[in-house]
């Protein structure tokens, strides 16, 4: 008799929920009458994401200490569950954002792909060996390649998809090469086993670590691996951008943290320096590049690079406090990011073209909810109070300061200073001008109200502001999740 690995269906729950939703949505896109395809598929995707978040919550509640499952290929712990809840929530909101997006064909398949990408992400965050890590990464990346290029009638979307595919292929290849080197050096694939192998300062292990770090830095769009970010964020359908900017970043950031702390604890001195350098480059480059952008999606893309920098500052601390700070940071960041792109998506649909800063003129007056929300998101990105962005920055800086990375704190302060100028510039356009001043005309008169999107935006505002007032529950969850990692 051959021993078969035990399959823990509970731990796989979130992934299966989304995978099931995706599969059924795909079937529905073929079998269901055309007029209800979109509704059925969107509903299924929404349910899948919501169920994934709920199951993630259940895993979080039920898992006191980390356990590996399925022959050590994935781990059931609170860190992964935390990410699953966040990714599930992001996905559900993105389904709402996507609802009214003008799409010529394949309306149902879109949601199937979205759910499949989500399934990949919630699997990815539980990976506990290099093989499942790569599998999860490719799983959601392949879905995203297609989603980015989904607007086949827009040349820019196709271009972005192709660029993302090719450049992303290189990113994945680097990660795979790095994994092979690590395997070569230790003979192990599991994170804990790699750490236990004690290969110490084996050059192969270090080179592998560097390449794994590079591959993941690509996914979190940390500079200088961010070159794809502005083009892809700008070219993708805005709903896809909102999903990528939030969910991909959350998943990849957490996996980065997990890999570094569980597989390479011995090499902490090396990777903290490398991550600190990546953080510094992201902060400088992201903010400086964002400063003069006129296209709002591009501006937000560079802002997301700079936020990757802030998150990496927390990772570079290499402490439990740093992990907690990162986990907290991700919650308001994800909300603000989804929300900001959703507002841009709304404006894009109104105007029927890419949104530049000038196109935001008067949005604050014409659409009070969207304008006010974008205002909240910008202040949140800049770290102003009444948004979780402030606590995020505070915790990250505190972690870095306590870890002795005072130079990163100084850099972070300078970066924040620069960022305040361009975030406020967005607010200035929202309120200080009117569309009439600049002749911004709506495409085809006043568009119908998009209730789904407005609900989505309201929810993200709620999280952004709520994470400020109710910081404690999130902090508790973050602390519980961070405890799954060996510090």
């Amino acid at each position: 008799m051959i021993d078969t690995p035990k399959v823990d269906w509970f731990a796989l729950g979130p992934t299966l929920a989304l995978l099931g939703a995706s599969g059924v949505a795909l079937l529905a896109s073929v079998l269901v009458p055309a007029w209800m395809r979109k509704g059925v598929a969107a509903g299924l995707a929404f349910l899948g994401f919501a169920l994934a978040a709920i199951l993630g919550g259940a895993v979080f509640a039920e898992t006191a200490s980390p356990e590996t499952t399925i022959a050590g290929s994935m781990v059931q712990d609170r860190l992964g569950a935390f990410a699953q809840v966040v990714v599930g929530a992001i996905g559900a909101i993105v389904v709402l954002v996507s609802w009214a997006e003008p799409r010529r064909s394949h309306r149902g398949e879109y949601y199937a792909l979205l759910a499949a990408a989500g399934a990949g992400m919630v699997f990815f965050v539980t990976a506990s060996n290099l093989m499942t890590l790569f599998l999860g990464l490719e799983w959601f990346s392949l879905c995203l390649y297609v989603l980015v290029a989904y607007d086949t009638h827009r040349a820019r979307s196709l271009e972005a998809g192709l660029k993302y595919l090719i450049v992303g292929g290189f990113g994945s290849a680097i990660l795979l090469f790095g994994s092979a080197l690590v395997y070569g050096a230790t003979g192990e694939l599991g994170f804990a086993e790699i750490a236990a192998a004690g290969a110490g300062s084996d050059p192969f292990l270090v080179a592998g670590l560097a390449m794994v770090l590079g591959g993941l830095a690509f996914k979190v769009s940390a500079a200088p691996f961010h070159m794809w970010t502005p083009d892809v964020y700008q070219g993708s359908p805005s709903s896809v951008t909102s999903f990528m900017s939030a969910a991909t970043k959350v998943a990849a950031m957490l996996v980065l943290l997990r890999v570094l702390t569980t597989a390479f604890p011995e090499e902490r001195e090396i990777w903290t320096v490398a991550v600190a350098v990546l953080a510094a480059v992201s902060l400088v480059w992201g903010n400086l590049a964002a400063f003069a952008q006129r296209d709002v999606k591009r501006l937000l893309a560079f802002s997301s690079v700079s936020h990757a920098g802030f998150m990496l500052v927390a990772v570079a601390a290499g402490t439990e406090a740093g992990a907690e700070a990162l986990l907290y940071y991700l919650v308001p960041y994800a909300a603000m990011s989804v929300g900001a792109f959703a507002v841009v998506a709304a404006r894009e649909r109104e105007l029927g073209r890419d949104v530049s800063l000038e196109d935001l003129a008067g949005l604050g007056w014409e659409r009070p909810l969207l304008g006010l929300s974008l205002w909240v998101f910008m202040l949140g990105f800049a770290g102003f109070p009444l948004t979780g962005g402030m606590f995020g920055k505070l915790f990250v800086f505190t972690a870095a300061y306590e870890a002795g990375d005072w130079w990163l704190v100084v850099l972070g302060v300078l970066a924040t200073a620069v960022s305040i100028a361009y975030y406020l510039n967005v607010v200035r356009w929202l309120y200080m001008r009117t569309g009439a001043d600049l002749g911004v005309a709506l495409a085809g008169g006043s568009p119908p109200r998009d209730a789904a999107l407005e609900v989505a935006v309201a929810l993200t505002v709620l999280v952004t502001v709520g994470s400020f007032f109710a910081a404690q529950p999130i902090l508790d969850a973050a602390a519980d999740a961070a405890r799954s990692l060996p510090f």
Binding site: F204, G214, A289, M390, F397, T398, I420, A421, R428
Partner: protein
């Protein structure tokens, strides 16, 4: 008055009364947990300092709201804006008031920061209230950028203290701080935030710009809210400040610099509000000096000064607004003789001006008395500077009031609402009351100082009719100030030069230049941000390579690379490998697509031969098969593509930058791959393999060959998964082809 104005006025009055009642009943407070694991609490307490600034915020706020009730409708009418904009004005004003009260009573540094930024946000929208004017928009942004950026310093100072002492609570921190580098660093960062907010040199440039706001906003901003918040912070963190002598001395220097810069520029301004704005810079300079001089007299003096200044300055700003409303003129050179047309306003603002100029019988006399006293206690040099500062104040305020109300009538004034003059007269009256009955004001200042010092403060003020130092200093200040007023020709040119110099070299230039250079850098980055695919791939590979290189530099490599030996039997293998390498290099040369494809295929075929030599005929077969299929596929694609565009692409010349870059990237990649392969081959191979186990178990699985056993048994689940994937892929293809073609 409109409904929003009435509601706001009622709320402000209520808040004022409640604050007074709270003070009376002895420092009530709220203390609720917020984020317990961080020790973060929603903790407010109405201590002396809190009472002082809350009373200012609500009391002056009340006067300003009443005034705005008449002013804002007129203002909107001039600008042809809808009346509903009024709601926004009062809403923001109330938000401002609430944030100010919150700031004043916060007992927790994080709460302090929260309200600190809220005042900045409220002020942003109030300064930019006239949003159709570019000047107002720029001013609003500048005010928020300067105060918002420096607010980050406050947050950093907070976290420095938190990292050291593990609490955000101000009373706990005050109880536990010990003089040292950490506290000095934190206090310096916080003080910088405060100085930027109260517009001290070199951060003062945003304040005169902010005069683009409507007059009541300016009055509120300068006297009771935004700018006052800066000195409030100094008062709140005074226990941290006083741990370092150097820091206090720094405050004295900054304070005097602001006093003189503000005062001299105020002497040269023609626009009423600009004059008053620079006078604010100068007046808060006094307060900063007083905090810097420290001790009981200094700290009480600072608090008292804030009260006196708030009453007088708000009255003067409201005067400026009323005058502009009545005459349509905003410049000193166009105004004069208004005492005839607006006697009540002349009286009210006269009292306020007298207060600022520190004439006896006004509350201002005592503010200067305390100022002189603190100066004398420190050193004769400081005392002289205090006299000069007071003389400057006398001169520019005299210039303001005389210029507007005395002399020949230049601009005719029409009647204005009593609401525009009433608050001015009331505030002016308070200035007088404070001069006659200073006790309640001094008590308030003492209470505030007690909160700063952490010890009882009981400074008292009286009129002393003798030749003591303070009185003589006051007299000399009047004399110098009056002389300056009488003979403007003497100093005018010099002051103008100073002001112009400031404009040319001042910090505003630095601000503008910073913004501009940031923009330029950003544009340059935008230019560097590559657009073609190759460079993008290089941008992944090069940093990746750098990371690896750094990692390798950090680890010892001794013994990692060994050189083996070759024997005669390897000759053929070496030859084939060399062929593969040559073919790989050759792929860089052809321009025609088909040639390129064939050369690339030859690399694959040479490698297939290598596999065959190394004893893997099946692998070699697969390689040949794959290579052939792919080559055919590519040929098919080329056949479908338009011939003309292929020819055009083939004819493109390589740009000169690429001629160097591509070989370099290629060489680096090759080197890295070489080192990795070399290193891998240098280590002993792992002996055990799962293959033998599979072969051994094959009979147990009732299979005749190992491949079958693997497919159907050992890896049966994988096979199932693959079948599922293929099925799903069919579905995917079916949906794509639904309409018979790719859409």
């Amino acid at each position: 008055m409109s409904l929003p104005a009435r509601v706001s006025a009622a709320l402000a009055a209520l808040a004022f009364v409640l604050t007074l009642a709270g003070w009376w009943s002895g420092s009530p407070g709220i203390d609720l947990p917020w984020a317990p694991s961080l020790g973060l609490r929603l903790s407010f307490e109405l201590d002396g300092l809190g009472v002082l600034y809350s009373l200012l915020a609500t009391g002056i706020g009340f006067a300003v709201v009443l005034y705005s009730g008449a002013y804002v409708p007129l203002h909107l009418e001039h600008q042809q804006r809808p009346h509903r904009d009024e709601v926004r004005f009062f809403g923001l004003l109330l938000l401002f008031m609430v944030s100010m009260v919150g700031l004043a009573t916060a007992r927790d540094l994080i709460l302090l920061f929260v309200f600190w930024d809220l005042t900045a946000i409220a002020s942003y929208f109030l300064i930019g209230y006239d949003r159709q004017e570019a000047e107002a928009r720029t001013a609003a942004l500048m005010a928020l950028v300067v105060t918002g950026v420096t607010a980050v310093l406050l947050l950093i100072g907070t976290l420095v203290l938190y990292a050291e002492y593990g609490t955000f609570s101000i009373p706990e921190l005050v109880a536990s701080v010990e003089p040292g580098g950490t506290v000095t660093l934190a206090a310096t960062l916080m003080a910088l935030a405060g100085l930027a907010k109260c517009a001290q040199v070199p951060f003062h440039f945003w304040l005169p710009r902010a005069m683009a706001a409507p007059s009541p906003v300016s009055a509120y901003l300068h006297a009771a809210a935004m700018v006052a918040a800066g000195v409030f912070l100094l008062g709140r963190i005074y226990p941290f400040l006083e741990t370092s002598e150097l820091l206090l001395d720094g405050l004295v220097v900054v304070g005097f610099a602001s006093m003189f810069v503000g005062g001299i520029v105020a002497l040269t301004r023609d626009r009423l509000k600009q004059l008053l704005a620079y006078s604010t810079v100068s007046q808060y300079g006094y307060v900063v000096v007083l905090y810097g001089l420290g001790d009981t007299v200094g700290v009480v003096g600072a608090s008292f000064y804030v009260i006196a200044h708030a009453l007088a300055k708000s009255a003067l700003f409201l005067t400026a607004g009323a005058v502009a409303e009545a005459t349509g003129e905003r410049r000193l050179s166009e105004l004069g003789g208004l005492r005839r047309a607006m006697p009540a306003l002349a009286l009210g603002s006269g009292l306020a001006a007298a207060g600022l100029a520190a004439l006896p019988l006004t509350i201002g006399f005592f503010k200067d008395e305390l100022f002189f006293q603190a100066g004398v206690e420190r050193s004769p040099g400081i005392a002289v500077l205090t006299i000069l500062g007071a003389a400057l104040t006398f001169a520019y305020i005299g210039r303001f009031w005389i210029g507007v109300f005395l002399g020949p009538t230049r601009a005719p004034a029409h009647r204005v609402s009593a609401l525009l003059t009433g608050p001015v007269v009331a505030l002016g009256g308070l200035v007088l009351v404070g001069g006659l009955l200073p006790e309640p004001f001094v008590a308030l200042a003492n209470a505030a100082a007690e909160a700063s010092l952490g010890a009882a403060a009981s400074v008292d003020v009286f009129y002393h009719l003798d030749a003591r130092a303070e009185n003589l200093m006051a007299l000399s200040a009047y004399a110098i100030g009056a002389a300056a007023l009488a003979a403007p020709r003497v100093w005018r040119a010099a002051a103008e030069t100073c002001a112009r110099l400031g404009e040319r070299l001042g910090p505003e230039r630095v601000y503008v230049a910073t913004i501009r250079s940031l923009n330029e850098t950003s544009d340059r980055i935008h230019g560097i941000e590559v657009r073609d695919l190759r460079t993008r791939i290089a941008a992944i590979l090069v940093p990746g390579g750098l990371l690896v290189l750094l990692g390798l530099l950090a680890t010892p490599t001794a013994g990692a690379y060994t050189v083996g030996s070759l024997d005669r039997g390897d000759t053929a293998l070496v030859l084939v490998l060399a062929t593969a390498a040559l073919a790989a290099i050759a792929t860089t040369l052809p321009r025609q697509h088909l040639t390129l494809l064939l050369v690339a295929a030859s690399v694959g075929f040479s490698l297939a031969v290598v596999y065959a030599f190394l004893g893997g005929p099946d692998v070699a077969l697969v390689a040949v098969l794959v290579e052939t299929t792919l080559t055919l596929l590519f040929i098919g694609v080329f056949a479908l593509m338009p011939r003309a565009s292929l020819r055009r692409l083939a004819a493109l010349r390589t740009p000169p930058t690429r001629r160097w870059r591509d070989p370099l990237v290629g060489a680096a990649a090759a080197l890295a791959a070489f080192l990795v392969v070399w290193g891998a081959l240098s280590r002993p191979s792992v002996g055990e393999s799962v293959a033998e186990e599979h072969v051994r178990l094959t009979p147990d699985a009732h299979a005749k060959d190992v491949v079958t056993a693997i497919l159907t048994d050992f890896r049966g689940l994988d096979t199932l998964g693959e079948i599922t994937v293929v099925a799903i892929a069919f579905f995917g293809i079916a949906t794509l082809l639904r309409r018979g073609r790719l859409s």
